[in-house]
Symmetry: C2
Subunit: 346 residues, 2 copies
Amino acid sequence: MKRKVTLKQIAKELDVSISTVSKALRNSIEISEDTRQKVQAFAKLYNYRPNNIALSLKNRKTKTIGIIIPEIVHHFFSKVISGIEAVANKRGYNVIVGLSNESFSKEVINMEMLANGSIDGFILSIAKETQQQQDYHHFTETIKQGMPIVMFDRVVNEIKCDKVIVDDSEGAKLAVNKLIDCGCKNIAIISTKDYVSVGKLRTQGYLDALEDHKISPKASLILKVHDQLLSEDHLDDLEKEIENLFQNNKNMDGVFAVNELYALTAMKVARKLGLKIPEDIQVIGFTDGVLSKHAVPALTTVSQHGKKIGEKAAELLINNLEREDEEDIYETVVIETELIERESTK
Amino acid sequence: MKRKVTLKQIAKELDVSISTVSKALRNSIEISEDTRQKVQAFAKLYNYRPNNIALSLKNRKTKTIGIIIPEIVHHFFSKVISGIEAVANKRGYNVIVGLSNESFSKEVINMEMLANGSIDGFILSIAKETQQQQDYHHFTETIKQGMPIVMFDRVVNEIKCDKVIVDDSEGAKLAVNKLIDCGCKNIAIISTKDYVSVGKLRTQGYLDALEDHKISPKASLILKVHDQLLSEDHLDDLEKEIENLFQNNKNMDGVFAVNELYALTAMKVARKLGLKIPEDIQVIGFTDGVLSKHAVPALTTVSQHGKKIGEKAAELLINNLEREDEEDIYETVVIETELIERESTK
């Protein structure tokens, strides 16, 4: 039986990257004539033909939206999906979800697969690895083939498409201003490494808020947690890093954490060190997930309105799909963040 | 431009159910000859042809697994997906996720769509509405067409396929035995309505544990929460129901809750009523999600090993897909639950 070959298998067989195979199949001039021929011949031999299928299905509407997200065990992304679904269902569309697992090649493979006639357009948030590699050919090619994309949260400025973003730096400013207003003098930030765009933007908001209040930032108060530590399997290491932050800054009286898990871990460390929240130290998180609401004390947090982001993204995509004219007008919609005050601040 | 018509549109147009359209298109003898002809003619006219596509693609392997789950904002399902992904990636498969939103028709639509050449087989957990309606034609037909299915957690005994289940009643017994061992005399259960199979099984485990210890069950201690109250939007109503349980049973000293949210809400109500945990009342939940770990006090819970369920389901499906012989041998694998003891019990 003749089996269908996958992008990955072609890449492995020809010892080139998945990105090269994907570009070669789309006849991209970025790839040498020689390689393009080799890849195309191989793909033909093994019955791989995304473009044919895509073409034959181009004029058929599937009434399905493809969503590509970095990970699924994440309350923010699941809220966004629930928002996309709400609008999609109302307007007669179905959704289907592919996961990049923060990997560039999985993002490319998922998009190729779904673009092959299963869906009408994409709503996506970019994988960390794609952000690092800055290889965006799969987005441009998809759009060139007539399939619209809406990016949310983690977006690429260079790509022309509709975008829904959170004002991350404004959100961070909201949080840090609140801590300053509540009397905090030594405010730490617990953030991610800089290549994660949202971590970078939230750190910028923190610095801006300090500057607005003429407070000099201190390097020792800025913790950029190693990436792996966001996973649940590394909670102990995360706790140690945050405990060091507390030990090195005895006069620290406020913490702004760029996600829920960091904020909750900071509260746990504070409790362990005998500090009272909010009396001795005040804590604000980012992302209003289930953890924030159910924490004891309940966590003051910056809400990103994940559901609203999803709703807006679905509206933009469906409007684009159902537009009669062919004009390319793209919007970038900024969803305002909001400070939800609970018990972890005064 | 000729647009592809959807199952839903055909159903609406002909004023029949989606299930009828789906069966008629597959030429099921359950549907009258007349209706079959009408549906098929309509589908042909509007270019709906799942079977043609499915047939032409039948021998092509997509190396993709379709997952259908009831909802995405749910830690258990996301853990299962992470387990499926881990095994799928190792064995060269991709995954794609469709959401039924607990709706029968969305489950059918998603399966039809994915079965059309996008995937090699399904891993799924059944929507509540499908369980209520007991209409399983979409599973049997899919299997008949040569596409294997693995069911997990919420399964249907009548369907012949591989299954991965949690021993829900044993898990519940573990929890209730623990409460009894810790000295509880008046143990309540906070469960769901009975048509949700896991709620029913966990309630059975609760009753069995009481019987083993010669404790007579009391109706007032058995709370079956209305279904809608599992959603985050109805936390206040849920709280009221649980507060009533406490008010009506002043001597209650133990609570077994069939999910995390019920358990956390019970702890919240206990705190509100001035009861100390675990001194005055001990609480055990089911599902070891993020909420349990981060709760204060940390929640003792029955872990379902969601990741392991996903891993096993993916193994079963891929083994089936890659099996040379055509024998139909199906397995039901029971993943043992485990009691994770934390601070909410003595």
